[in-house]
Amino acid sequence: MPTIINNRVGESIKLGYLAFVLMFAFFPLYIVIVVSFKSNEQFLSNPWFFDPVSEWRWENWAIGWHSVSGYIFNSIFVSFLGTLSTLIIVLMSAYAIARYRFPGKSVLYYLIMATMFLPGTVAALVTLFNLLRQMGLINNLWALVLMASVSGQVTGVFILRNFIEDIPKELFESAQIDGAGHLQQIRHIVLPMSASIISVTCIMDFLASWNNVILPLLLIRDDQLMTIPVGLFHLDGEYVKQYGQLMAGYAISSIPLLVIFVFSMKFFVKGLSAGAIKG
């Protein structure tokens, strides 16, 4: 049957292409893990290539942990607090905008939305830096928390507003009759009803502040306060010769996100595929 053969050929072409793409996506991860166990001599004599590890250097990981652990804690601090405060602020304002009509609502809503379309995060970096300097937030992790909580708000309000509007009004009304205040309604109705979309936006916010380079590069001076991207950038400058330890550091700095993804993978794949971040 020619169609069956056709199907097989087609299927193998598809899978072959996907495998090719995925191979390149996983290649850096593979190299990071393999090289992190090699000794520097082995690496330099035959860099990158697929020879088995001749002697397993576990101490690379210990040294790597020693050099990046501080950065990891800083990054977790910044990204976690930033995401949490974004979530709280966004929930409150999205709830207010989606449920009620009040004087000045459309003005305020467009004021918020306009920042999505107004360019100038690049241009405003200069003045933003000056503003933070005047507030005394240079070399301070709270500046990064603050900026992380500001940057995720607009898309958050936009997405959550649509979701809250779709929640049946009767739920809110019955809760109101039972004497629930606004904050209680947010906690007991909005939060559980839109958990999947909230988790997706939270992960996106978390990733954005996790990978943010420019602001930490400008604001943070002390080595103890650096976040992962900036810290690794500095290590890359210092440690040029010790590839094993460097790669171990890279691998260790991927672990926190690995943990988060293991717990939220289902939400994430579903949420993304459902077109949650279409806008």
Partner: protein, 502 residues
């Protein structure tokens, strides 16, 4: 209706009318107060950290400013310098190259999403989907530094691979051959293309003009009015240059020209309706291409119009479309051919003979290295967004196509691409704006100076380095405003032109 008046229906009827009104008023006031309090953190934080810095760049761009000591009012001198700063405008050239490259780099992701969507078994598809998400756990910085290591001249993976596979010899051979090809093309380019079209860019502009003119549907009297309006637009800057805009520019003259251009844009919008928005950009690009012989722009416009009139005199709108398409594609293809083989690799780089080209350290190799960056150019988020569009395609569309005898390959163009156009457009918008504004990669890889010979300088990086390594904050603000308006214009165009239906 979401309007709620919590008090009015619950107030007891026995109380007097006046006090009922009062309680209702105070209750509603309470509700509003609560709502304002709920929305306050968002508004306040955006006002302080998003709006204030953006307003502040406008205020500070007129100062010679180096905080915290120097702050001196100098009027529009920063802008004057910005407009005549060769590095700044060269950086847009790189943006143009990157945009074209990114347009091509969209395709591997689209194809991957289509292939993923067509995988038969649900379980396997889910597994692959998860596999696409997993690389996101690697911090972006690790990815950057790994690729930087791949490009290392001595033990980078790319040079190793090229040496092992013989690719280095091919490159070495090309290094001597390509300059010879370009030397062969040079007489044609300088002798024919240059004088007739005003260079290779002229070929492409003429091709684009023919497409745009061919798009004008009407064939009654009013088309001559349209031509006149467009012709006026093509003439503004040539005429202004006759009056000394090019030889002795002053602020007054520049401002006057700007006002005339804006007035013309309004006339264009009134006259041509929705299709007007491409014209100002086309003519602007034409002006840039023909900068030193500006009379060519109206001439090219006349050629395009006469070509249209010639064809439309014999054929109707439907039949003439292929002719416009063919002629413009021929011109643009020819232009691209000349650019690829006559303008890029004109001199041997002599980097490949010893087998260790310094990809990120040589001024001729920086741009190719950046273009190859991230091979095979499949972004996780992009794939998942396309996939969300593909999963909305109902199965019977495929079955109907199968009955009509459409091959699997044909289905890509007949079904899948048209139906995920929304997602492609969204990605296109994101891609354009991020190409114009992001510079993290260039800063990390090449440093604030833009690498060897400043070849890797993008506008954002120039802004960054003039503020934070040269300490010229005021000048950086002026650059930022120029960039701001360019991106704003693009956003408006996209809002108008590219309808995104949610």
């Amino acid at each position: 209706m979401k309007y709620r008046q919590p008090a009015s229906d619950s107030s007891p009827a026995s109380t007097s009318h006046r006090s009922a009104w009062l309680t209702a008023f105070s209750q509603r006031g309470k509700l509003y107060l609560a709502l304002y309090l709920l929305i306050l953190p968002t508004v306040l934080s955006l006002l302080i950290f998003s709006y204030y810095p953006k307003v502040d760049i406008f205020l500070m761009s007129v100062y010679r400013w180096q905080p915290p000591t120097i702050k001196e009012f100098i009027g529009l001198r920063n802008f004057k310098e910005a407009f005549s700063d060769p590095i700044f405008w060269q950086s847009f050239e790189l943006v143009g190259i990157l945009l074209v490259a990114n347009l091509l780099k969209l395709w591997p992701g689209i194809l991957a999403a289509i292939a993923l969507n067509r995988v038969k078994s649900d379980r396997l598809r889910y597994c692959i989907q998860v596999c696409f998400v997993v690389p996101m756990i690697i911090p972006g910085m690790v990815f950057l530094l790994m690729w930087k290591n791949f490009y290392d001249p001595d033990f980078g993976l790319i040079n190793r691979f090229l040496n092992a596979s013989g690719g280095m010899e091919v490159l070495n051979w090309l290094d001597t051959t390509m300059p010879r090809v370009s030397a062969l093309l040079a007489p044609v380019q300088d002798g024919v293309v240059g004088p007739v079209f005003g260079g290779v860019g002229g070929l492409i502009v003429l091709g684009a003009l023919i497409i745009a003119v061919g798009k004008i549907k009407s064939h009654d009297r009013s088309r001559w009015g349209d031509y006149t309006v467009l012709m006026l637009g093509a003439l503004i800057i040539p005429v202004a240059s006759v009056f000394g805009l090019q030889s002795s520019p002053t602020e007054g003259k520049a401002l006057a020209v700007l006002l005339i251009v804006i007035a013309w844009m309004f006339a264009c919008a009134k006259r041509l309706g929705r299709a007007w928005i491409a014209w100002p950009f086309l003519l602007l690009i034409g002006t840039c291409v023909f900068w030193h012989e500006i009379w060519r722009l109206p001439l090219a416009f006349i050629i395009a119009v006469s070509w249209r009139e010639l064809i439309r005199a014999r054929l109707d709108d439907y039949d003439s479309a292929p002719y416009f398409r063919a002629s413009s594609l021929l011109l643009i293809g020819l232009g691209i051919f000349f650019i690829l083989f006559g303008n890029i690799w004109t001199a041997p780089t002599q980097q490949f003979s010893n087998g260790t080209p310094a990809w990120l350290g040589n001024k001729d190799l920086v741009i190719p290295a950046i273009l190859f960056w991230g091979f095979p150019w499949v972004g996780t988020v992009g794939v998942l967004i396309y996939l969300s569009g593909l999963q909305n395609i109902p199965q019977d569309v495929y079955e109907a196509a199968k009955l009509d005898g459409v091959t699997p390959l044909g289905m890509i163009f007949r079904i899948e691409l048209p139906l995920i156009m929304t997602q492609i457009r969204i990605n296109l918008i994101f891609m354009t704006i991020s190409t114009l504004s992001t510079y993290e990669m260039f800063l990390i890889l090449l440093g604030p100076e833009g690498g060897p010979g400043g070849r890797g300088m993008v506008p954002g990086l120039y802004l960054f380095s003039s503020a934070f390594s040269e300490g010229r904050f005021g000048y950086a603000c002026a650059l930022g405003i120029v960039l701001f308006f360019i991106i704003l214009l693009l956003t408006i165009v996209y809002q108008k032109y590219v309808k995104v239906d949610k």
